[in-house]
Subunit: 309 residues, 2 copies
Amino acid sequence: MDIIQSVLNGDKRSIAKLITLVEEKSDDFINILKKIYKYTGRAITIGITGAPGSGKSSLVNKLTRILRTQNKKVGIIAVDPTSPFTGGAILGDRIRMQDLTLDEGVFIRSMGTRGALGGLSRACYDAVKILDASGMDYIIIETVGVGQSEIDIVKLADIVLLVMVPGMGDDVQAIKAGIMEIGDIFVVNKSDKDGADRLVTEIEMTLDLGSSKNSWKPPVIKTIATENYGIVELSENIEKVLKHMMQDDLLNVKRKSRIKQEIISLLTETLIENIIFRYSEKIDMLIEKVLERQIDPYSAMEIIISDVK
Amino acid sequence: MDIIQSVLNGDKRSIAKLITLVEEKSDDFINILKKIYKYTGRAITIGITGAPGSGKSSLVNKLTRILRTQNKKVGIIAVDPTSPFTGGAILGDRIRMQDLTLDEGVFIRSMGTRGALGGLSRACYDAVKILDASGMDYIIIETVGVGQSEIDIVKLADIVLLVMVPGMGDDVQAIKAGIMEIGDIFVVNKSDKDGADRLVTEIEMTLDLGSSKNSWKPPVIKTIATENYGIVELSENIEKVLKHMMQDDLLNVKRKSRIKQEIISLLTETLIENIIFRYSEKIDMLIEKVLERQIDPYSAMEIIISDVK
């Protein structure tokens, strides 16, 4: 159980090793996580998402630097699509964060989506627990994709930053609209581009539509991450929103919903793995029948359910 | 049971109504789907995905026109993120397809991702079944998002088109790499832009890395959808790839894997809904304990599993 103690001491190598055990679902990783759990709950998790090319990595980089000047320890989890050929996570623009890796108070990890099959948010939140137990003050979760799974991951963070840039196409706007409700702070990055003010107005108008007159409204912040513009304001707003969420007990509501999601996803995984293992022959036989239109998929499912019962 | 007969007759209003029943999980929709299932299996499904702004809708539009000149009936399902405030799917650039809706042989439907929680691919494939039974020759599934859930949907299609454009940023390339293995045809759209030939070469090199010397390689096609350039070549390649997939029995392998996914997702949904309903009080009580670090999420899951057994 050496690894637990080293993780609790903040040893980076042990943190990395334990996350790998979680990703690979190695023997005993559940027992280790069980033992670590009571040391969690201190860290604040920040989810960052937005369309590709919106400058999320630069924002994470600059935000981390500010947190470091306040002597906060920062863990960063970058959820990346995975190359089918290399087997490893694509590091892509993580390279922009390379200078941070030399800082003792920063830990960066990429996690791939390949083959995760719904298990990604579980693995990701196990990694958050490990970083939390290791003494990180802030844990930033950045997703590259802009699909439903990626949204499912960031929306479980304590506070969610939605990053947008001016002048994107039609369906980018659609994606934006689809995820607006999960944003606690809206960041208009690359705000020196044409249309930045219009985008801010659009966001504010959409937020007005969705909220009553006196209710809390998420702040909209203009930044130019590459030039460090607006980053201090962003970090101040993160503190402000957190304070508001704590006052109104919203943080606990969010954390409970994360725990619920986690328990349900663990239940699902365990039950389904069990059933697929026990009924694999029957399932294969039913697949043939469904393919030949002898039965339909719903009836096939019902046959297995009645066997399980 | 009038609705079944009208769907089988290809009545558009009935098709739309039945898809709504599926989305809303209305009473009896499963019984209707069970009865319809034996009339399915004729249609070819084409999945189209790619980064936002890559011109997928224009491609679908132009491809549909060619299929219509061959007198094929075409169903189009656009998987869209959903606005949190309007409650309806964002139609965004669907408007570009508006002229197609006047054509009797074309049916277009947007399906939203909001609240789907893993049920989206089920609802989407139920819609495919309905369109299949209604006599569509081709069913095109277009996704706007580029995340894992959207990839999970298109990869279940008979044939998958991956759309890319020259000159996108770093993390677009990462997404590209993450999904290359699901592509049966690669489309470089907006190929009049700088870097189109380089992108084609990059794709071909990546495909070479992933395949043995004499194995089948997916075609890479240059298009400019808005100018109708390359669309005939694309449609010819779709036929060529389909022929290859049928010869090598790959189509049945793919369809079996789709059926397996579907049965497993139906099983998961049914079991979990059942458990959440039966154990909701216990789950709420365990969530409190997990929040207070009295127990960990894994132990909470195990307590429920042992109750279920």
